[in-house]
Protein backbone atom coordinates (compact mmCIF):
# COMPACT_ATOMS: atom_id res chain seq x y z
CA UNK A 1 0.00 0.00 0.00
CA UNK A 2 1.32 3.42 -0.93
CA UNK A 3 0.82 6.40 1.34
CA UNK A 4 0.61 9.72 -0.44
CA UNK A 5 1.63 12.60 1.79
CA UNK A 6 -0.19 15.79 0.93
CA UNK A 7 1.59 19.11 1.21
CA UNK A 8 -0.61 21.95 2.42
CA UNK A 9 0.46 25.39 1.26
CA UNK A 10 0.42 28.10 3.93
CA UNK A 11 -1.38 30.39 3.82
CA UNK A 12 -4.31 29.07 1.82
CA UNK A 13 -7.96 28.21 2.25
CA UNK A 14 -7.07 24.55 1.73
CA UNK A 15 -4.68 24.71 4.68
CA UNK A 16 -7.18 26.32 7.07
CA UNK A 17 -9.97 24.08 5.85
CA UNK A 18 -7.97 20.96 6.61
CA UNK A 19 -6.61 22.32 9.91
CA UNK A 20 -10.18 23.06 10.97
CA UNK A 21 -11.30 19.57 10.00
CA UNK A 22 -8.62 17.82 12.07
CA UNK A 23 -9.01 20.26 14.99
CA UNK A 24 -12.72 19.46 15.17
CA UNK A 25 -11.88 15.84 15.88
CA UNK A 26 -10.07 16.85 19.08
CA UNK A 27 -12.89 19.23 20.08
CA UNK A 28 -15.31 16.32 20.11
CA UNK A 29 -14.52 15.29 23.70
CA UNK A 30 -15.52 18.78 24.97
CA UNK A 31 -12.87 18.75 27.73
CA UNK A 32 -11.76 22.32 27.07
CA UNK A 33 -15.32 23.61 27.26
CA UNK A 34 -17.10 25.63 24.65
CA UNK A 35 -15.58 28.60 22.87
CA UNK A 36 -17.40 31.37 21.05
CA UNK A 37 -15.15 33.63 19.04
CA UNK A 38 -14.69 34.83 15.49
CA UNK A 39 -10.97 35.20 14.97
CA UNK A 40 -9.23 36.64 11.95
CA UNK A 41 -5.77 35.48 10.90
CA UNK A 42 -3.71 37.89 8.81
CA UNK A 43 -0.57 36.61 7.11
CA UNK A 44 1.81 39.15 5.67
CA UNK A 45 4.43 38.23 3.09
CA UNK A 46 6.52 40.33 0.69
CA UNK A 47 4.13 39.26 -2.08
CA UNK A 48 0.73 39.69 -0.44
CA UNK A 49 -1.45 40.09 2.63
CA UNK A 50 -3.89 37.21 3.12
CA UNK A 51 -6.77 37.21 5.60
CA UNK A 52 -8.81 34.26 6.85
CA UNK A 53 -11.61 33.89 9.39
CA UNK A 54 -12.03 31.06 11.89
CA UNK A 55 -15.15 30.70 13.99
CA UNK A 56 -15.17 28.92 17.34
CA UNK A 57 -18.86 28.06 17.59
CA UNK A 58 -19.49 26.23 20.83
CA UNK A 59 -17.90 22.81 20.51
CA UNK A 60 -17.23 23.19 16.79
CA UNK A 61 -14.81 25.19 14.73
CA UNK A 62 -15.76 26.55 11.33
CA UNK A 63 -13.47 27.92 8.66
CA UNK A 64 -15.38 30.86 7.19
CA UNK A 65 -13.01 31.46 4.31
CA UNK A 66 -10.65 34.09 2.97
CA UNK A 67 -11.71 37.74 3.14
CA UNK A 68 -10.38 40.93 1.61
CA UNK A 69 -10.59 42.93 4.86
CA UNK A 70 -11.55 42.25 8.48
CA UNK A 71 -14.73 43.85 9.69
CA UNK A 72 -14.22 44.26 13.45
CA UNK A 73 -17.98 44.41 13.90
CA UNK A 74 -18.18 40.71 13.02
CA UNK A 75 -14.61 39.42 13.46
CA UNK A 76 -13.99 40.17 17.12
CA UNK A 77 -10.23 40.19 16.91
CA UNK A 78 -7.49 39.17 14.54
CA UNK A 79 -3.92 37.93 14.71
CA UNK A 80 -1.41 39.51 12.41
CA UNK A 81 2.21 38.77 11.58
CA UNK A 82 4.74 37.79 8.97
CA UNK A 83 4.32 34.53 7.11
CA UNK A 84 7.79 33.48 8.30
CA UNK A 85 6.69 33.80 11.97
CA UNK A 86 3.67 31.56 11.36
CA UNK A 87 5.87 29.08 9.49
CA UNK A 88 8.32 28.92 12.42
CA UNK A 89 5.38 28.22 14.73
CA UNK A 90 4.00 25.42 12.55
CA UNK A 91 7.47 23.93 12.14
CA UNK A 92 7.80 23.75 15.93
CA UNK A 93 4.33 22.23 16.23
CA UNK A 94 5.10 19.58 13.63
CA UNK A 95 8.41 18.70 15.28
CA UNK A 96 7.02 18.48 18.82
CA UNK A 97 3.36 17.60 18.23
CA UNK A 98 2.54 20.87 20.01
CA UNK A 99 3.91 24.40 20.24
CA UNK A 100 6.77 24.72 22.71
CA UNK A 101 8.69 27.53 24.42
CA UNK A 102 8.49 30.83 22.55
CA UNK A 103 6.35 29.31 19.77
CA UNK A 104 3.06 29.08 21.69
CA UNK A 105 0.26 31.41 20.58
CA UNK A 106 0.41 33.42 23.79
CA UNK A 107 4.20 33.70 23.75
CA UNK A 108 4.25 34.86 20.13
CA UNK A 109 1.65 37.57 20.82
CA UNK A 110 2.68 38.57 24.35
CA UNK A 111 4.78 41.59 23.44
CA UNK A 112 2.89 42.42 20.23
CA UNK A 113 5.59 40.83 18.07
CA UNK A 114 6.31 38.70 16.11
CA UNK A 115 2.53 38.19 16.12
CA UNK A 116 0.01 40.67 17.42
CA UNK A 117 -3.62 40.31 18.52
CA UNK A 118 -5.78 43.25 17.58
CA UNK A 119 -9.37 43.65 18.72
CA UNK A 120 -11.86 46.45 18.26
CA UNK A 121 -11.07 47.35 21.88
CA UNK A 122 -9.29 45.83 24.89
CA UNK A 123 -12.30 43.70 25.90
CA UNK A 124 -12.31 42.14 22.43
CA UNK A 125 -8.55 41.57 22.61
CA UNK A 126 -8.87 40.06 26.10
CA UNK A 127 -11.60 37.74 24.80
CA UNK A 128 -9.04 35.95 22.65
CA UNK A 129 -7.21 34.92 25.84
CA UNK A 130 -10.41 33.62 27.45
CA UNK A 131 -10.02 30.87 24.84
CA UNK A 132 -6.22 30.62 24.83
CA UNK A 133 -6.18 26.87 25.34
CA UNK A 134 -8.76 26.26 22.59
CA UNK A 135 -6.80 28.41 20.14
CA UNK A 136 -3.58 26.63 21.08
CA UNK A 137 -5.31 23.30 20.61
CA UNK A 138 -6.51 24.43 17.18
CA UNK A 139 -3.02 25.47 16.09
CA UNK A 140 -1.42 22.36 17.61
CA UNK A 141 -3.66 20.25 15.39
CA UNK A 142 -1.28 21.20 12.57
CA UNK A 143 0.93 18.32 13.70
CA UNK A 144 -1.73 16.01 12.26
CA UNK A 145 -1.39 17.52 8.80
CA UNK A 146 1.15 16.38 6.28
CA UNK A 147 3.89 18.70 5.18
CA UNK A 148 3.27 22.43 5.40
CA UNK A 149 4.91 24.35 2.60
CA UNK A 150 5.13 28.07 1.94
CA UNK A 151 2.68 29.51 -0.54
Amino acid sequence: MTTIEIEYKFPSSEFFGELTRVANQSMADKTLGFAILKLGIEVISPKSVKRYVIEFDGYEINFLGEVAEFDLASVEAYVTGQQSSYMDMFKDIQENSMATGPQTFNALTMAGFPLNVQGADQVATDKVFRFAESIQNYLDSAHLLGTIGEM
Binding site: G33, F34, T104, N106, A107, V123, D126, R130, A132, E133
Partner: protein, 358 residues
Protein backbone atom coordinates in the same frame (compact mmCIF):
# COMPACT_ATOMS: atom_id res chain seq x y z
CA UNK B 1 -45.84 38.98 60.27
CA UNK B 2 -45.04 35.78 58.41
CA UNK B 3 -47.22 32.85 59.48
CA UNK B 4 -44.90 29.95 60.29
CA UNK B 5 -47.31 28.05 62.56
CA UNK B 6 -47.90 24.37 61.81
CA UNK B 7 -51.24 23.83 60.12
CA UNK B 8 -52.48 20.58 61.67
CA UNK B 9 -55.86 20.97 60.02
CA UNK B 10 -54.15 20.80 56.62
CA UNK B 11 -52.54 17.47 57.53
CA UNK B 12 -55.96 16.03 58.33
CA UNK B 13 -57.46 17.35 55.05
CA UNK B 14 -54.52 16.03 53.03
CA UNK B 15 -55.00 12.58 54.62
CA UNK B 16 -58.55 12.64 53.28
CA UNK B 17 -57.21 13.55 49.82
CA UNK B 18 -58.47 17.12 50.03
CA UNK B 19 -55.47 18.92 48.61
CA UNK B 20 -55.28 22.70 48.51
CA UNK B 21 -53.94 22.98 44.90
CA UNK B 22 -54.00 26.76 45.07
CA UNK B 23 -50.39 26.80 43.84
CA UNK B 24 -51.52 24.86 40.75
CA UNK B 25 -54.70 26.80 39.91
CA UNK B 26 -53.44 30.30 40.60
CA UNK B 27 -50.00 30.05 39.03
CA UNK B 28 -48.92 33.28 37.41
CA UNK B 29 -46.10 31.63 35.47
CA UNK B 30 -45.78 31.98 31.70
CA UNK B 31 -47.24 28.51 31.28
CA UNK B 32 -46.78 27.01 27.83
CA UNK B 33 -43.78 29.11 26.84
CA UNK B 34 -40.65 27.17 25.94
CA UNK B 35 -37.15 28.44 25.35
CA UNK B 36 -35.16 27.73 22.23
CA UNK B 37 -32.19 25.60 23.20
CA UNK B 38 -28.77 26.81 21.99
CA UNK B 39 -26.22 24.62 20.23
CA UNK B 40 -24.19 24.36 23.43
CA UNK B 41 -27.17 23.40 25.61
CA UNK B 42 -29.84 25.27 27.55
CA UNK B 43 -28.18 28.52 28.57
CA UNK B 44 -29.18 31.29 30.97
CA UNK B 45 -29.73 33.52 27.97
CA UNK B 46 -32.11 30.91 26.47
CA UNK B 47 -34.29 31.02 29.59
CA UNK B 48 -34.25 34.81 29.86
CA UNK B 49 -37.56 35.04 28.03
CA UNK B 50 -40.69 36.98 28.90
CA UNK B 51 -40.83 38.38 32.39
CA UNK B 52 -38.21 35.87 33.56
CA UNK B 53 -35.66 37.84 31.59
CA UNK B 54 -36.66 41.16 33.11
CA UNK B 55 -34.07 42.11 35.70
CA UNK B 56 -35.48 45.04 37.67
CA UNK B 57 -33.28 48.10 38.14
CA UNK B 58 -34.58 48.52 41.70
CA UNK B 59 -36.21 45.32 43.05
CA UNK B 60 -39.12 45.91 45.41
CA UNK B 61 -38.23 43.00 47.68
CA UNK B 62 -35.16 41.75 49.52
CA UNK B 63 -35.93 38.05 49.16
CA UNK B 64 -34.32 34.85 47.93
CA UNK B 65 -37.48 33.98 46.01
CA UNK B 66 -36.60 33.21 42.39
CA UNK B 67 -37.10 36.23 40.14
CA UNK B 68 -40.35 35.72 38.23
CA UNK B 69 -41.91 33.39 40.79
CA UNK B 70 -45.25 34.05 42.49
CA UNK B 71 -44.02 35.47 45.77
CA UNK B 72 -45.91 35.49 49.06
CA UNK B 73 -46.51 39.07 50.16
CA UNK B 74 -45.12 38.40 53.64
CA UNK B 75 -41.69 36.97 52.70
CA UNK B 76 -38.99 38.09 55.13
CA UNK B 77 -36.46 40.78 54.30
CA UNK B 78 -33.02 39.18 53.85
CA UNK B 79 -31.18 42.38 54.59
CA UNK B 80 -29.56 42.83 51.18
CA UNK B 81 -27.66 46.09 50.86
CA UNK B 82 -26.82 45.98 47.14
CA UNK B 83 -30.25 46.55 45.66
CA UNK B 84 -29.58 48.51 42.50
CA UNK B 85 -28.94 46.57 39.31
CA UNK B 86 -26.23 48.89 38.06
CA UNK B 87 -24.17 48.19 41.19
CA UNK B 88 -23.40 44.61 40.06
CA UNK B 89 -24.68 44.03 36.54
CA UNK B 90 -22.85 43.77 33.23
CA UNK B 91 -24.29 42.99 29.81
CA UNK B 92 -21.99 39.99 29.40
CA UNK B 93 -22.59 38.37 32.79
CA UNK B 94 -24.96 35.61 31.58
CA UNK B 95 -22.53 34.50 28.90
CA UNK B 96 -19.52 34.70 31.22
CA UNK B 97 -21.28 32.44 33.72
CA UNK B 98 -21.92 29.79 31.06
CA UNK B 99 -18.36 30.08 29.81
CA UNK B 100 -16.96 29.74 33.32
CA UNK B 101 -18.96 26.61 34.07
CA UNK B 102 -18.06 25.04 30.76
CA UNK B 103 -14.33 25.79 31.02
CA UNK B 104 -13.59 24.61 34.54
CA UNK B 105 -10.43 22.54 34.98
CA UNK B 106 -8.65 20.64 37.71
CA UNK B 107 -5.27 21.57 39.13
CA UNK B 108 -4.83 17.94 40.15
CA UNK B 109 -5.87 16.22 36.91
CA UNK B 110 -5.15 18.67 34.08
CA UNK B 111 -1.57 19.71 34.86
CA UNK B 112 1.09 17.16 33.81
CA UNK B 113 2.89 17.40 37.17
CA UNK B 114 4.98 14.28 36.56
CA UNK B 115 6.63 16.00 33.59
CA UNK B 116 8.18 18.82 35.66
CA UNK B 117 11.87 18.90 34.75
CA UNK B 118 14.63 19.58 37.25
CA UNK B 119 15.50 23.24 36.87
CA UNK B 120 18.59 25.32 37.68
CA UNK B 121 18.40 26.66 41.22
CA UNK B 122 17.88 30.33 40.25
CA UNK B 123 15.09 29.42 37.81
CA UNK B 124 13.35 27.16 40.35
CA UNK B 125 13.66 29.92 42.99
CA UNK B 126 12.17 32.43 40.57
CA UNK B 127 9.20 30.30 39.59
CA UNK B 128 8.61 29.45 43.27
CA UNK B 129 8.67 33.15 44.26
CA UNK B 130 6.25 33.98 41.44
CA UNK B 131 4.03 31.08 42.49
CA UNK B 132 4.13 32.33 46.10
CA UNK B 133 3.00 35.79 45.04
CA UNK B 134 0.21 34.43 42.85
CA UNK B 135 -0.98 31.95 45.47
CA UNK B 136 -1.17 34.91 47.87
CA UNK B 137 -2.98 37.40 45.65
CA UNK B 138 -5.44 35.07 43.98
CA UNK B 139 -7.43 34.25 47.09
CA UNK B 140 -8.49 37.86 47.62
CA UNK B 141 -10.42 37.55 44.38
CA UNK B 142 -12.41 34.80 46.10
CA UNK B 143 -12.66 36.54 49.47
CA UNK B 144 -13.94 39.83 48.04
CA UNK B 145 -16.88 38.45 46.03
CA UNK B 146 -17.66 36.02 48.84
CA UNK B 147 -17.80 38.92 51.30
CA UNK B 148 -20.32 40.73 49.12
CA UNK B 149 -22.35 37.85 47.70
CA UNK B 150 -24.85 37.58 50.55
CA UNK B 151 -25.46 41.33 50.42
CA UNK B 152 -26.48 41.31 46.75
CA UNK B 153 -30.20 41.22 45.97
CA UNK B 154 -31.29 37.83 44.68
CA UNK B 155 -33.03 39.41 41.67
CA UNK B 156 -29.50 39.82 40.29
CA UNK B 157 -28.97 36.08 40.63
CA UNK B 158 -27.01 35.68 37.38
CA UNK B 159 -24.41 38.18 38.61
CA UNK B 160 -24.25 36.31 41.94
CA UNK B 161 -23.81 33.01 40.09
CA UNK B 162 -20.98 34.47 38.03
CA UNK B 163 -19.26 35.67 41.21
CA UNK B 164 -19.62 32.12 42.58
CA UNK B 165 -17.67 30.84 39.56
CA UNK B 166 -15.02 33.41 40.29
CA UNK B 167 -14.72 32.17 43.86
CA UNK B 168 -14.13 28.65 42.50
CA UNK B 169 -11.67 29.88 39.87
CA UNK B 170 -9.61 31.72 42.44
CA UNK B 171 -9.57 28.78 44.82
CA UNK B 172 -8.12 26.71 41.96
CA UNK B 173 -5.52 29.40 41.17
CA UNK B 174 -4.45 29.52 44.80
CA UNK B 175 -4.24 25.73 44.71
CA UNK B 176 -2.30 25.42 41.47
CA UNK B 177 0.34 27.97 42.41
CA UNK B 178 0.75 26.52 45.90
CA UNK B 179 1.18 23.12 44.27
CA UNK B 180 3.73 24.48 41.80
CA UNK B 181 5.80 26.04 44.57
CA UNK B 182 5.89 22.74 46.43
CA UNK B 183 6.05 20.31 43.51
CA UNK B 184 9.63 20.44 42.33
CA UNK B 185 11.93 20.60 45.33
CA UNK B 186 11.65 24.36 45.77
CA UNK B 187 9.04 25.74 48.14
CA UNK B 188 7.21 28.88 49.11
CA UNK B 189 9.12 32.15 48.95
CA UNK B 190 8.60 35.56 50.52
CA UNK B 191 5.24 37.20 51.18
CA UNK B 192 5.61 40.99 51.21
CA UNK B 193 3.75 43.55 53.30
CA UNK B 194 3.11 45.81 50.30
CA UNK B 195 1.25 43.00 48.55
CA UNK B 196 -0.85 42.43 51.65
CA UNK B 197 -1.61 46.16 51.79
CA UNK B 198 -3.03 46.04 48.27
CA UNK B 199 -5.11 42.98 49.16
CA UNK B 200 -6.37 44.71 52.31
CA UNK B 201 -7.39 47.74 50.26
CA UNK B 202 -9.63 45.46 48.18
CA UNK B 203 -11.00 43.47 51.09
CA UNK B 204 -11.73 46.58 53.17
CA UNK B 205 -13.51 48.38 50.32
CA UNK B 206 -16.48 50.33 51.66
CA UNK B 207 -18.64 49.48 48.65
CA UNK B 208 -18.88 46.85 45.94
CA UNK B 209 -18.11 49.65 43.47
CA UNK B 210 -14.81 50.40 45.15
CA UNK B 211 -13.73 46.80 45.58
CA UNK B 212 -14.76 45.76 42.07
CA UNK B 213 -12.84 48.63 40.47
CA UNK B 214 -9.73 47.82 42.49
CA UNK B 215 -9.99 44.07 42.02
CA UNK B 216 -11.71 43.24 38.71
CA UNK B 217 -10.29 46.15 36.75
CA UNK B 218 -6.94 47.03 38.31
CA UNK B 219 -5.75 43.99 40.27
CA UNK B 220 -6.97 41.24 37.99
CA UNK B 221 -5.94 43.24 34.93
CA UNK B 222 -2.39 43.25 36.28
CA UNK B 223 -2.58 39.55 37.12
CA UNK B 224 -3.92 38.71 33.64
CA UNK B 225 -0.84 40.39 32.14
CA UNK B 226 1.36 38.51 34.63
CA UNK B 227 -0.27 35.22 33.60
CA UNK B 228 0.38 36.02 29.96
CA UNK B 229 3.97 36.91 30.77
CA UNK B 230 4.27 33.82 32.95
CA UNK B 231 3.24 31.59 30.05
CA UNK B 232 5.78 33.34 27.83
CA UNK B 233 8.56 32.99 30.41
CA UNK B 234 7.73 29.49 31.68
CA UNK B 235 10.73 27.21 32.02
CA UNK B 236 8.71 24.12 31.02
CA UNK B 237 5.48 23.06 29.33
CA UNK B 238 4.04 22.29 32.77
CA UNK B 239 4.09 25.95 33.86
CA UNK B 240 2.94 26.98 30.39
CA UNK B 241 -0.23 24.94 30.79
CA UNK B 242 -0.80 26.32 34.30
CA UNK B 243 -0.57 29.91 33.10
CA UNK B 244 -2.69 29.31 29.99
CA UNK B 245 -5.52 27.77 31.97
CA UNK B 246 -5.34 30.50 34.61
CA UNK B 247 -5.29 33.30 32.04
CA UNK B 248 -8.56 32.06 30.55
CA UNK B 249 -10.26 32.34 33.94
CA UNK B 250 -8.69 35.70 34.74
CA UNK B 251 -9.69 37.17 31.38
CA UNK B 252 -13.32 36.32 32.21
CA UNK B 253 -13.11 38.17 35.52
CA UNK B 254 -11.55 41.20 33.85
CA UNK B 255 -14.23 41.10 31.12
CA UNK B 256 -16.89 41.22 33.82
CA UNK B 257 -15.15 44.04 35.71
CA UNK B 258 -14.62 46.22 32.65
CA UNK B 259 -18.13 45.76 31.31
CA UNK B 260 -19.66 46.15 34.77
CA UNK B 261 -17.95 49.51 35.18
CA UNK B 262 -19.18 50.51 31.74
CA UNK B 263 -22.74 49.47 32.65
CA UNK B 264 -22.45 51.48 35.87
CA UNK B 265 -21.06 54.63 34.28
CA UNK B 266 -23.41 54.53 31.29
CA UNK B 267 -26.31 54.80 33.74
CA UNK B 268 -24.79 57.15 36.25
CA UNK B 269 -21.88 59.18 34.85
CA UNK B 270 -21.95 61.40 37.92
CA UNK B 271 -20.22 58.67 39.90
CA UNK B 272 -17.09 58.68 37.69
CA UNK B 273 -15.12 60.82 40.10
CA UNK B 274 -15.64 58.25 42.87
CA UNK B 275 -14.12 55.56 40.65
CA UNK B 276 -11.22 57.83 39.75
CA UNK B 277 -10.54 58.28 43.47
CA UNK B 278 -10.62 54.49 44.09
CA UNK B 279 -8.15 53.91 41.28
CA UNK B 280 -5.87 56.80 42.32
CA UNK B 281 -5.24 54.93 45.56
CA UNK B 282 -4.91 51.55 43.88
CA UNK B 283 -2.39 52.84 41.35
CA UNK B 284 -0.31 54.31 44.15
CA UNK B 285 0.14 50.81 45.54
CA UNK B 286 0.67 49.45 42.02
CA UNK B 287 3.69 51.75 41.78
CA UNK B 288 5.12 50.21 44.93
CA UNK B 289 4.49 46.72 43.53
CA UNK B 290 6.43 47.62 40.38
CA UNK B 291 9.43 48.49 42.54
CA UNK B 292 9.28 45.45 44.84
CA UNK B 293 12.17 43.02 44.14
CA UNK B 294 10.11 39.94 45.00
CA UNK B 295 7.59 40.97 42.33
CA UNK B 296 9.91 42.28 39.61
CA UNK B 297 13.05 40.14 39.84
CA UNK B 298 11.65 36.60 39.45
CA UNK B 299 10.13 37.55 36.11
CA UNK B 300 13.28 39.37 35.02
CA UNK B 301 15.32 36.24 35.80
CA UNK B 302 12.85 33.95 34.03
CA UNK B 303 12.89 36.27 31.01
CA UNK B 304 16.66 36.34 30.87
CA UNK B 305 17.15 32.64 31.64
CA UNK B 306 19.13 33.10 34.86
CA UNK B 307 20.46 35.59 37.41
CA UNK B 308 23.64 36.26 35.47
CA UNK B 309 21.85 37.01 32.22
CA UNK B 310 19.20 39.06 34.04
CA UNK B 311 21.79 41.64 34.93
CA UNK B 312 22.02 42.47 31.24
CA UNK B 313 18.51 42.09 29.79
CA UNK B 314 16.24 41.50 32.76
CA UNK B 315 15.38 45.14 33.38
CA UNK B 316 14.54 45.57 29.71
CA UNK B 317 12.16 42.60 29.91
CA UNK B 318 10.58 43.97 33.10
CA UNK B 319 10.06 47.33 31.38
CA UNK B 320 8.28 45.70 28.44
CA UNK B 321 6.01 43.79 30.81
CA UNK B 322 5.20 46.87 32.90
CA UNK B 323 4.46 48.88 29.77
CA UNK B 324 2.13 46.10 28.58
CA UNK B 325 0.32 45.94 31.94
CA UNK B 326 -0.24 49.70 32.08
CA UNK B 327 -1.27 50.03 28.42
CA UNK B 328 -3.84 47.22 28.69
CA UNK B 329 -5.19 48.61 31.98
CA UNK B 330 -5.63 52.08 30.46
CA UNK B 331 -7.31 50.59 27.38
CA UNK B 332 -9.80 48.80 29.67
CA UNK B 333 -10.49 52.09 31.48
CA UNK B 334 -11.10 53.70 28.06
CA UNK B 335 -13.56 50.95 27.16
CA UNK B 336 -15.38 51.32 30.47
CA UNK B 337 -15.80 55.05 29.88
CA UNK B 338 -13.35 56.10 32.57
CA UNK B 339 -10.40 57.57 30.65
CA UNK B 340 -7.34 57.77 32.91
CA UNK B 341 -4.46 58.43 30.56
CA UNK B 342 -4.12 62.02 31.78
CA UNK B 343 -4.79 61.09 35.39
CA UNK B 344 -2.95 57.82 36.00
CA UNK B 345 -1.12 57.92 39.31
CA UNK B 346 2.22 56.44 38.26
CA UNK B 347 5.61 58.17 38.10
CA UNK B 348 6.47 59.50 34.64
CA UNK B 349 9.42 57.05 34.48
CA UNK B 350 6.88 54.24 34.40
CA UNK B 351 4.82 55.79 31.64
CA UNK B 352 7.44 56.04 28.93
CA UNK B 353 6.03 54.93 25.58
CA UNK B 354 2.44 54.73 26.80
CA UNK B 355 0.04 56.54 24.50
CA UNK B 356 -1.71 59.65 25.75
CA UNK B 357 -0.17 59.80 29.23
CA UNK B 358 2.09 62.82 28.80
Amino acid sequence: MTNTAINLEYIERAKRGEFDLGWLRDSKSEWGTKPTISKIGLTLRDISYGTYGDVPDNPKRRTMAPRGSDIDPDVPDMGYTVNTKMEVWSDNVLDLYEEAVSRQWSATRDIPWSQLPELPSDIEHSICQLATLLSEVEMVAADFPAKWLWRINHDFVEAKMFLCTQVMDEARHTEVFRKRALANGGGLGKAKAVVEQFLKLILDAQSYDEGSALMHLLGEGIVLSIFRAGEFLSPSDVEKRIFRLCMQDEARHVAYGTMHLKYRLDRDPSIAEDFHAFLDRGEELMTVLFTTPEVVEPMAILAAGGVKQAEEIGVFAADILRQRIVEEYLARCDKAGLPRRKRINLPSEMLTGIEGTN
